[in-house]
Structure formats: structure tokens, C-alpha cells
């Protein structure tokens, strides 16, 4: 350990620089690339699911199924069609991959890692080696989960929420419990939780202790605040899920009955467990994480958008302080809303009422955030750069996602909407066109800092417009189908429930009326996939062929990451960083230029001298 300290890292060997790197920027990139690959895989699984929903009686076309070997297809597809069990595997893994392996690592792992230390003027994270360990635990966990596709049992198949007793009985028939998808999923999850534990400890410590001189709390960019709150959510909300995961591993491998009620009957007869456990306990433990997790997904994305909007409207972020307080309140409230996922479990109406109240309350800080960003646009001279396009799309898309959630917050309405496509539509609006658009904005925004080149604008438009159109065609019909009562777990899209014409089966007729939307949504999904091709091309070609940046601060932004060389070297800053003012000093009338970066020393002849920063500097 101590030998390392004296060693100079100017030219570390390949494996140290790119594989087991301890540099927060490289780790950020590792996180980003891995997360994007996982997102691609999760998207692919969903395409196979959407095929099965739209064309349940037709084989999956070869352009989709080639990914899996013939042997695999022989085992898991029937006449080339996706079976219920296979669909369940895809569904469980789609959710898991998107949430745990895709969006969180991209938002928190990639952007958080890359940008946070730069924005607070730190040379690196507080614990670089922990940072490295955090990435590798994440990767191992992800590989454990996805690798189980090729086990005899197949991969996890009980939804990303993994509810028992279904999940306890899934794969229980295999002699070697360790090598079943369901157990591997749990163990992978424990890895991911350990990874995020290391990550969150690291982030919070870094933000508390490694801020540059003059970087007071209220001068932190909103991005950093969001990361701080996200860190706390991960730190405190994940352990109960780890408890649930460990308990379920014990259930599976040692035959205990934590989540098995007495007298459970399955297809194999009465189960031989001792019984006496409670499936509801798992749900409580799961959603204690599950709900804060939503904000873990959301906050990094909002954080990216909150950085991009002021830089592209050339005016300060409106209501910075209210946003900071809102995000803190949001973080706190997110711990006491979890049971709104469980209205239909029979946990009691007084419990439901409590959680209904807190759930409605939490919409207040969310609305504060989104409103502040919306008002930030007002009167700005908006530059429609690529990141700004995505950021602007984020606002209404996330708005739809949030507003469609309100009906679900009321347990009376939830009776009807629970487990329908409405729920799917709602949270996908939050996560896909909402959060992912925000993260795309982030990629386009910080790409020039990461590689010294802009991403191509034409390809950007080819990516943006089709994505915006098709993603709405995917998710909006879901809201309609959901209100008609389409269940979220139909692997055949309602085929089995459809009544023939002239039937008196009311529900069957409703299904008949709305089943046609399946094709519209599925085709949109395939086109949406096509729309990602320009992005992938852009990502790689811009790295070598993109337009070079003119300066270290290509967007003329004010926050500290733009004070570094491009790309930033090991240790980040080439000068002694000091911060003199708040993060969003755009278009100050007393400045010549329309931005006043945090690190610029005040000039004696402008009234900007009166900045609090200089007063502080004199004290020192």
C-alpha cells in the first residue's frame, strides 16, 4: 500500500490504466460502456418479448433469435415461439438488467464517477481502490445474472421484483441449487449491492471532504447535490434488499421458510417446507429498496439535465436553492412511500392510507424540480445543441411519466390499474423517455470533455427524432390498454383472452378491441431499435473523426469540470483550484462575457468583486 503512494503513475501499464484502473474517469467510462452494453442486451430481450406479444403464434424471426444457439432455442422455444416460461425469463431479466445493470450504473456509476470529482475540484475520488472494486463487483454481479441464461435451469424467471413464493419455488426442482438461474440472480444481486455500497460510501465521502477551496455547500452544482442524495439512498435503502436476498438464498439452499406460508400447495402437491413464513415480508424488504431505487434512477438524470439547461439557455438555473431543498426532501420522503406498491396485498387500509398520503406528498418536491427547470427555459436565449434537444424532450416526457403516476398513488384507483399495462406505461415513461433521455443528454454534453471531440450533429438528429416519436408510440398505447384491463404479464398479449366476434364475453370483447395496439407498439419498438443505430455509430466514429473542440470549455459553461485539460489527465486539474462563486453565473450584466466560471479569479474593476468569494479569499 505505502509503496504505491511513492510510485508515480505517469505511464501505468495497460491493465492498470484500462482494466483495473483506479482513476475515477476511467472507471466512469468503464461503467458507462458496460452499462450501455447491458442496456442494449436488455433492450434486445424486450424486443423478443414484444414479438411474442404482438405475434404470439409465430416463430421469432431469425434476425432476432440468432443471438441464441440452436441448442438453446431447442430447449427454450417451442416451434420457434416464445413460451410462457421463456417470456418470464426475458421479462425478469429485462427488468433486472435495465434497472440494476443499465440505468443505475450509467447514471450514478458513469456520470457520477466521471463528473462529480471534476465538479467539486477534487483530484480523484476519496478511495480510488474501492472505486475500482466497486466496478468489478458490479461487472461480476452482472455476468452472474446474465450468464445463467445458459444454465440447465435457465435464468431467473420471477420478475425483477422476484416475489416469493413464486421465486422460491422456481428452479427448486434442480439438484444443485447453486447453479440455478434464480439463485444466481440473488447472488448477483448481493454482488451489486456490495458494489453500490462501496460506491455510495466513496461518493459521499468525496463530496463531503474533497471539495476544492471556496466550494461551499451552496456553490455545489446541482449535479453534485443530486449525487449526494443518490449516494445516501443507495447507502441506506439497499441493505434491506440485501437482507431479503440473503434470506431467500437461505430459503433456497438450506430449505428454510422465511417467505413460505404454512401449507403452500404447488403443482407438485403440498410443499415440504416447515412453513410459517410470509411472502409479504419479502415485499416489504424489497420495496424498501424498490422505491428509493426509483429516485436512484431518476436523480442522476435530472442532475444531467439541470447542468445542461443553464449552459444552453445562458441564464442561471431558476430556483437553485429550492431545487437543493427539494432534492433533500425528496430523498427523505422516498424512504416512507414504499408500500404504495403493495396496496393489493391486504396489508390493511390504515397502512395503505399512510402510504397514500406520503406518496401524494412526494410529488411536491418532484414538481418543484421539474418546474424549476421548466421556468429556467423562460426568457433564455436557447441554443438547441444536441444535449439541449434531449434535455428539452426530457421535461415533457418525464412530466407525462410523473403525472400518470398520480392515479396510481390512490389505492382506490390502484385497485383497477394494479398490474395492468397502465403501470408499465407509467414507469416506462419515467424511465425510458424520461431518465434515459436525460442520460443521453449527458452523453452528448460531456462527450467533448471525455474525448476532446463533439458527437456528430446529423447523426444526433437521426437518433433524436425517431427515438422521440417511436418511444411515444411504444408507451402511450400502453396507458390505453392498461385502462382497458390488459394484464402486464401476458406473454401472448391477450391472445388467450380474446373473444370471437359477437361473443357476450365483455372482457373478451374489450381485449379484441385493443389487442391491435400490440402490433403498433411492437413495430415501434423495432423501429426504435433502428433509431439507436446512428447513436452507436456516432459514439464510435466521433471518438476518432468527430469535430475537435475549440477549447477546454466548448459549451462556455461555468462549472469546474470545464476547467480541466481535455481530456483531463490523472489528477484532473493543472492548477490549484479555488472557487469564487456559485455554479450558474450566466449572463451577468456586469460581465463582458455571458458566463462567469466558478474558477475565474474576480477582476478588481468589476462589481463582481463583491462576490462572496473574494471576501472569503481575503479572510484566508
Amino acid at each position: 500500500m505505502s509503496a504505491d503512494e511513492h510510485h508515480d503513475h505517469h505511464n501505468p501499464p495497460f491493465w492498470q490504466k484500462y482494466i483495473f484502473s483506479t482513476d475515477h474517469k476511467m472507471i466512469g467510462l468503464q461503467y458507462g460502456i458496460t452499462a450501455l452494453l447491458f442496456l442494449l442486451f436488455g433492450f434486445f430481450l424486450m424486443m423478443m418479448m414484444r414479438w411474442s406479444i404482438a405475434y404470439p403464434n409465430e416463430p421469432v424471426p431469425t434476425w432476432m433469435s440468432w443471438v441464441f444457439s440452436d441448442n438453446w432455442q431447442g430447449r427454450w422455444l417451442t416451434d420457434g415461439k416464445v413460451t410462457g416460461e421463456t417470456y418470464n425469463m426475458f421479462g425478469a431479466m429485462h427488468g433486472t438488467i435495465m434497472v440494476f445493470l443499465g440505468v443505475v450504473p450509467l447514471g450514478f456509476g458513469a456520470f457520477g464517477n466521471y463528473v462529480t470529482p471534476l465538479q467539486i475540484g477534487a483530484p480523484d475520488m476519496a478511495f480510488p481502490k474501492l472505486n475500482c472494486a466497486s466496478y468489478w463487483l458490479y461487472l461480476i454481479g452482472g455476468i452472474m445474472m446474465c450468464g445463467s441464461f445458459f444454465l440447465e435451469s435457465g435464468t431467473a424467471k420471477s420478475g425483477w421484483t422476484n416475489y416469493p413464493p413464486l421465486s422460491s419455488l422456481a428452479d427448486a426442482q434442480h439438484p444443485n441449487q447453486f447453479f440455478t438461474g434464480q439463485t444466481q440472480w440473488l447472488l448477483g444481486l448481493v454482488m451489486l449491492i456490495s458494489s453500490s455500497l462501496l460506491g455510495s460510501v466513496n461518493f459521499i465521502t468525496t463530496i463531503i471532504n474533497l471539495r476544492a477551496k471556496g466550494m461551499t455547500w451552496m456553490r455545489l452544482p446541482f449535479f453534485v447535490w443530486a449525487m449526494l442524495v443518490t449516494g445516501f439512498l443507495l447507502l441506506l435503502a439497499f441493505p434491506p434488499l440485501e437482507v431479503a436476498g440473503i434470506m431467500q438464498v437461505v430459503d433456497r439452499t438450506f430449505g428454510s421458510s422465511f417467505f413460505q406460508p404454512t401449507g403452500l400447495v404447488s403443482g407438485e402437491g403440498i410443499e415440504g417446507f416447515a412453513g410459517g413464513g410470509s411472502p409479504l415480508l419479502f415485499q416489504h424488504l424489497f420495496w424498501f429498496l424498490g422505491h428509493p431505487e426509483v429516485y436512484v434512477l431518476l436523480l442522476p438524470s435530472i442532475a444531467c439535465v439541470a447542468e445542461i439547461i443553464p449552459a444552453n439557455t445562458r441564464k442561471p438555473l431558476w430556483g437553485y436553492k429550492s431545487m437543493v431543498y427539494a432534492v433533500l426532501v425528496l430523498g427523505f420522503l422516498s424512504f416512507i412511500v414504499w408500500a404504495h406498491h403493495m396496496y393489493l396485498t391486504g396489508m390493511g387500509s390504515s397502512v395503505s392510507t399512510f402510504f397514500q398520503t406520503t406518496t401524494v406528498l412526494i410529488s411536491v418536491p418532484s414538481v418543484v424540480l421539474i418546474t424549476a427547470m421548466l421556468i429556467s427555459l423562460w426568457g433564455g436565449s436557447i441554443r438547441f445543441t444536441m444535449p439541449m434537444m434531449w434535455a428539452c424532450a426530457f421535461l415533457p416526457m418525464f412530466g407525462i411519466g410523473g403525472l400518470t403516476g398520480l392515479p396510481l398513488a390512490f389505492n382506490l384507483v390502484d385497485l383497477h390499474l394494479h398490474d395492468t399495462y397502465y403501470v408499465i406505461g407509467h414507469f416506462h415513461y419515467v424511465v425510458a423517455p424520461g431518465i434515459l433521455f436525460g442520460l443521453f443528454a449527458g452523453i452528448y454534453y460531456w462527450y467533448p470533455k471525455m474525448f476532446g471531440r463533439y458527437m456528430n450533429r446529423m447523426l444526433g438528429h437521426l437518433h433524436f427524432w425517431p427515438s422521440l416519436i417511436f418511444i411515444n408510440l411504444v408507451f402511450f398505447p400502453m396507458l390505453i390498454q392498461g385502462m382497458a384491463g390488459f394484464h402486464r404479464r401476458w406473454y401472448n398479449g391477450g391472445d388467450a383472452y380474446m373473444a370471437p366476434e359477437g361473443s357476450e364475453d365483455v372482457f373478451g370483447n374489450t381485449v379484441r378491441e385493443y389487442i391491435g395496439l400490440n402490433e403498433l407498439m411492437s413495430v415501434s419498438v423495432f423501429l426504435l431499435a433502428l433509431a439507436q443505430v446512428p447513436f452507436i455509430i456516432n459514439l464510435f466514429t466521433a471518438w476518432k473523426m468527430g469535430k475537435k473542440v475549440e477549447s477546454d470549455n466548448p459549451w462556455n459553461a461555468t462549472t469546474l469540470e470545464w476547467a480541466t485539460p481535455t481530456p483531463p489527465g490523472h489528477g484532473n486539474f493543472t492548477f490549484d483550484v479555488a472557487v469564487y462563486r456559485g455554479p450558474y453565473e450566466y449572463s451577468r450584466p456586469d460581465c463582458e462575457e455571458d458566463y462567469y466560471p466558478q474558477w475565474h479569479e474576480p477582476k478588481a474593476d468589476t462589481s463582481a468583486d463583491l462576490d462572496a468569494g473574494i471576501a472569503e479569499k481575503k479572510e484566508h
Binding site: D79, T205, F273, M498
Partner: protein, 571 residues
């Protein structure tokens, strides 16, 4: 590049990095154990079986409590010694701390060992007896083998599931079968594809006798063939189905759809469409030139001559749920976890156990739920009707216990009086009333089954040391009745492992995780002890910081135990 505030605290926060990190980490740990303790509360409140109260021997837990507290004190001394620059003292205190951790784990290990080797058997009427299982033993004069916990099956037929049969099971079954004859029951035919020729070959011929080695070879071959045939067939069927859809879609788009005219205007989900596709699909498979469907039978069946095969109940779910299936002499088939099915006649699979506790609480609970007379129901329990010496002893024990509990009830009323309504202020617990513990068994034996005063039992029970880790079969030979419980009377059977019930499950989970924390903490502290000298020389302040952080963790581990001890050992 150097990360600031590794050693010296930052001025405005007053903390160095690792101090912040460890407190954050501990906050996370609080949530972890908080989740576990909340689960404990949840499971206990909603338990629909008698929660085992004060079920663990207290002494090991108590000793461990003091050991951990002592180590928490010495770890602070070790840190203080470092701060004062005294390496020798540091080594002394730190070594003591780590030795404490080791002793703690040894006691833990002893406790675990005794739990895993202690069993409970619950009858279908919810009486529980606890004790030591007899290992598998030689057949008695009637040719019966009791003991261990194995299913005995006079096996006539085994059906192997080709895709999933599990080698360890197969090996064990073949070993049990010994030299007895194994015969193929049906043909297994494979189709070899040679260019465009198909050749059928019988790799298992009905009636052929095989050795275990030959059987394994044939199974492996059949497995390989089955998987490739499955793949091949699926490909043929998939292509045909794809073609069927294309043909019908094209047909109904044209102006004259011919055979498919009635499908025009229908959508793909309509029944008529599905029927048409299925018809065409079948037709196309037959006509398809790219390949024919191969034989893909997924199992291979062998006949045995009624050999006695003993099966570990962990191999499947047999017997649980419907214990009557396992009654000696019934025809039955048992499905193992790997989908192998054994058919034959159930043998004598009774469990032989040296009983060191009899517990009627669950039975009482069930009887009360149905408003039945508790004492009548207890007398009906099969445990009280076992024939032979062991059964006599159990009846004697229960009769003695009833005398004692009446004396004890009277004693409580006398000592604590009655309230205005004439109800006693204190009554015995359910454990006192309906459970005969091993200590009571020893006392009753010593008293020759004659109890005269309530405190006779207390005065004659084994000492704390004798019962250090629970029922002590070595020190009190001949006290504990030996009985055989027939399999069809058994509802549930388990060692005192997590499987037993949720009390033991959460006990093992929490103490197990706590044990991992102890080991982890000891490793970290051990690292400072054995590899810290270099840093002590170069940067003593940094080492002191590290020890401080490790010590904080160590205190947390201690704190968890302070919660674990009362919750599991005393409540």
C-alpha cells in the same frame, strides 16, 4: 497526485476521509441488521406455530457476550497504545482482541455443531419429539433397517430423464443396487443422419441386461442424442411454422385466396386462422425436404428386480405432503429433483431416534384452534402409543411431567396469590405445561419418576456446565428413550438447521452474518497487527487512524451481539 485528508482531518469538517467512510458504512450496516431484526419481529408476530422461547443454551451465548465486550475494550487500548507510540503494548492488546474473536467463533462453532446434529420429528398430529438420529444401521432380525433418515424403496423400475439426470444421484442409486440385475425396459432408438439417408439404431434394447458402467455409457449417449434430436426437430418445426404463416398471409392478401378464402379479413389471433395455420404446419413438416422429425423420446426406462434402494429425502419432495404414500408395503413412485422417477414398493423407512424432548405445544395450539379438549388430544398422540421399551419410557415421562406441572401450578398460585376473580396471578408457561425438556428427563430419571415437590426437578437437573451446549447424551446414557417412528406418521422432519422453522432460520442467518462480520473484523485487525509495523515506522498517525476505524467497526460488531444475545437466548 495525492488524495488529501487521508491522515489529517479537513479543517471545516474536522474529519479525515476514512472516518467519514466508516460512519457511512456503519449506517449501512445498521440498515442491514435493522432489516434482519425487523424481519425477526415480523416473523415472530405472525408465526402460526409455537415460537421456541428460550430454546438455546444460555451459557455459550453469555460467555461470548463477555468475550466480545472484553475485546472491544482491548481494541481501544490497542489504539491508545499506538497513539502513545508504544508498539509492544499495541501488539499485546491487539493480539488479545484477535484471540477473543477466535474463541468467540469456536463457541459459535460448538453451538452450530450441536444444532446440526440434533433432530426433530413432527408427527402428522403435530407432536414433536427431538433427539439424536441413529445412523443407518444393519437390518434387524425381521430384515428391517431403521435409522438415519432414508426412504427405503423396493425398486422395480427407474425412469431417467435424459436432459437432466444428475450424476451423483445416479452413482448413489447404482451403488445401492450393487450386483443386482439392471434390464432395459423399452427400446431407445436413435436416428443417425448420413447425408440424406436416415439410419435407425437401437442403443438400448428391451430386455438386455447391463452393468452399471454400460448403463452410464448408454445414458450419456442417449442424452447427447436426445439434445441434438430436440434441437433438430425444433428447427424443422420452426421453419415449417414460419413458412405456414408466410403462405397464409400471402394467400389472404391476394384477390383469390383459394383454400383460405374464409380467412380474408380475420386477424392473426382468430381461432379460424390458428386452426388453418396449425393444419398447414403439420402438412409442411411432413413435406419439408430439409429434414424429417427424429425420435426425441426424453427418457430411458430400466427395470430392477425389486432391489432395496435407500434415498436421501433431500433428493426430492417425496413423502412430504402425503406421508401415507410412504407406508411400508404401498406401491409408490418417487420423483427425484432431477426428474428421475423410481417406482416400486415402499419399504420400512421409520426414523429411529433417541428422544431428548417431547413437545405437545403445536398439538395444543391446533386443538385450541378447533376448540377441542387439549388433554384428550394429547393422549391420542401416536407418540404416547409406541410399543416397546422406548414407548413405555415416554409414557412414564409424560405421566411424571403431568404430576410435576400440577405441583408447579399449585406452587405459583400459592406464591403469587389470586386476583379478585379467583384467577391465579401467575400461571405456568406453555413450555412448562406441554414440553418435557431434556433436563426434566434427567431429573425424572434421577427421581425414579416420583416427583413430590415442584422444586425436585430443579434440584435434580443437570448443571449449566453439563448442559453447556444442549442435550448431553454422553453424560446421561440410558436416560433418553429410543423409539422408531414409522414414516407414514411423520409430517415433518429436520435437523435444528434453518429448515426447522423460522426461529432457527433467522437465528442462523443473523448469527451467521454476525459471525462473518467477526471474521472480517478479525482479518482487518490482524492485518494491522501482522503487517502494520512498516507503517508504524513510516506514518504512525496513519496506522492509528486505521486502527481507530477498525476499532469502530469492531464496536459495531459487539453492539450487534448485544442485541442478538437477549433476543435469541433470553426471550
Amino acid at each position: 497526485m495525492e488524495i488529501p485528508y487521508i491522515v489529517n482531518p479537513r479543517k471545516d469538517t474536522g474529519l479525515n476521509n476514512s472516518k467519514i467512510a466508516i460512519w457511512l458504512f456503519l449506517a449501512s450496516e445498521v440498515m442491514l441488521f435493522g432489516g434482519l431484526f425487523s424481519s425477526y419481529i415480523f416473523l415472530r408476530i405472525f408465526a402460526d406455530y409455537p415460537w421456541p422461547e428460550r430454546a438455546l443454551p444460555v451459557l455459550p451465548g453469555l460467555v461470548n457476550t463477555f468475550i466480545l465486550i472484553a475485546s472491544s475494550v482491548t481494541v481501544v487500548f490497542a489504539w491508545a497504545a499506538l497513539k502513545l507510540g508504544n508498539w509492544k503494548k499495541f501488539v499485546g492488546y491487539m493480539s488479545f482482541t484477535i484471540v477473543c474473536a477466535g474463541v468467540f467463533m469456536v463457541f459459535k462453532g460448538i453451538e452450530y455443531y450441536h444444532k446440526f446434529h440434533h433432530h426433530a420429528v413432527q408427527t402428522t398430529e403435530f407432536t414433536t419429539v427431538e433427539g439424536h438420529l441413529h445412523k443407518e444401521s444393519a437390518p434387524d432380525e425381521h430384515g428391517h433397517t431403521h435409522g438415519g433418515n432414508l426412504f427405503v424403496l423396493q425398486t422395480n423400475e427407474i425412469k431417467f430423464a435424459l436432459a437432466s439426470y444428475y450424476m451423483p444421484y445416479l452413482d448413489e442409486i447404482l451403488k445401492r443396487n450393487g450386483d443386482h440385475e439392471i434390464k432395459f425396459k423399452d427400446n431407445y432408438i436413435v436416428t443417425r443422419v448420413n447425408g440424406d439417408k436416415y439410419q435407425e439404431e437401437i442403443i438400448a434394447k428391451a430386455g438386455d441386461v447391463v452393468t452399471p458402467e454400460q448403463l452410464k455409457v448408454v445414458l450419456a449417449e442417449a442424452k447427447e442424442y436426445y439434445i441434438s434430436a430436440r434441437t433438430h426437430n425444433q428447427k424443422v418445426r420452426t421453419e415449417a411454422l414460419r413458412l405456414a404463416w408466410t403462405k397464409i398471409r400471402t394467400a389472404i392478401k391476394s384477390k383469390d385466396a383459394g383454400d383460405y378464402n374464409e380467412l380474408v379479413g380475420l386477424n392473426q389471433y382468430d381461432d379460424a386462422m390458428k386452426v388453418a395455420v396449425a393444419k398447414l404446419h403439420t402438412k409442411l413438416i411432413k413435406e419439408n425436404a430439409t429434414g424429417i422429425l427424429l425420435n426425441d423420446a426424453d427418457s430411458l426406462v430400466v427395470a430392477l428386480d425389486g432391489t432395496t434402494i435407500k434415498l436421501d429425502p433431500e433428493w426430492g419432495r417425496f413423502g412430504q405432503g402425503d406421508p401415507k404414500n410412504t407406508k411400508e408395503g404401498t406401491k409408490t413412485s418417487l420423483k427425484l429433483k432431477d426428474s428421475t422417477v423410481l417406482s416400486g414398493v415402499a419399504g420400512d423407512s421409520g426414523i429411529e431416534i433417541d428422544v431428548d424432548a417431547i413437545d405437545f405445544r403445536h398439538l395444543v395450539m391446533k386443538a385450541e384452534e378447533r376448540d377441542l379438549d387439549v388433554d384428550v388430544e394429547i393422549e391420542k398422540s401416536p407418540i404416547l402409543h409406541i410399543k416397546g421399551e422406548g414407548g413405555d419410557k415416554i409414557r412414564k415421562l409424560w405421566a411424571t411431567h403431568k404430576v410435576w406441572r400440577d405441583l408447579f401450578t399449585a406452587h405459583l398460585t400459592e406464591k403469587y396469590g389470586e386476583d379478585e376473580e379467583g384467577q391465579p396471578n401467575r400461571v405456568p408457561t406453555e413450555v412448562d405445561l406441554y414440553r418435557v425438556t431434556w433436563k426434566q428427563m434427567v431429573a425424572y430419571e434421577r427421581l425414579d419418576y416420583k416427583v413430590e415437590s415442584w422444586d425436585d426437578v430443579e434440584n435434580n437437573a443437570p448443571t449449566l456446565i453439563e448442559g453447556f451446549s444442549g442435550a448431553n447424551h454422553k453424560a446421561f446414557p440410558g436416560v433418553f428413550p429410543n423409539v422408531i417412528i414409522p414414516r407414514e406418521q411423520i409430517r415433518f422432519e429436520s435437523a435444528f438447521s434453518p429448515k426447522m422453522n423460522n426461529y432457527y432460520a433467522i437465528y442462523f442467518t443473523i448469527t451467521g452474518l454476525h459471525g462473518l462480520h467477526v471474521i472480517g473484523g478479525a482479518l482487518v485487525l490482524g492485518y494491522y497487527l501482522f503487517f502494520g509495523y512498516g507503517m508504524f515506522k513510516s506514518n504512525p498517525e496513519w496506522l492509528a487512524n486505521r486502527v481507530e476505524v477498525g476499532g469502530l467497526f469492531w464496536h459495531f460488531v459487539d453492539l450487534v451481539w448485544i442485541f442478538v444475545f437477549p433476543i435469541f437466548y433470553l426471550m
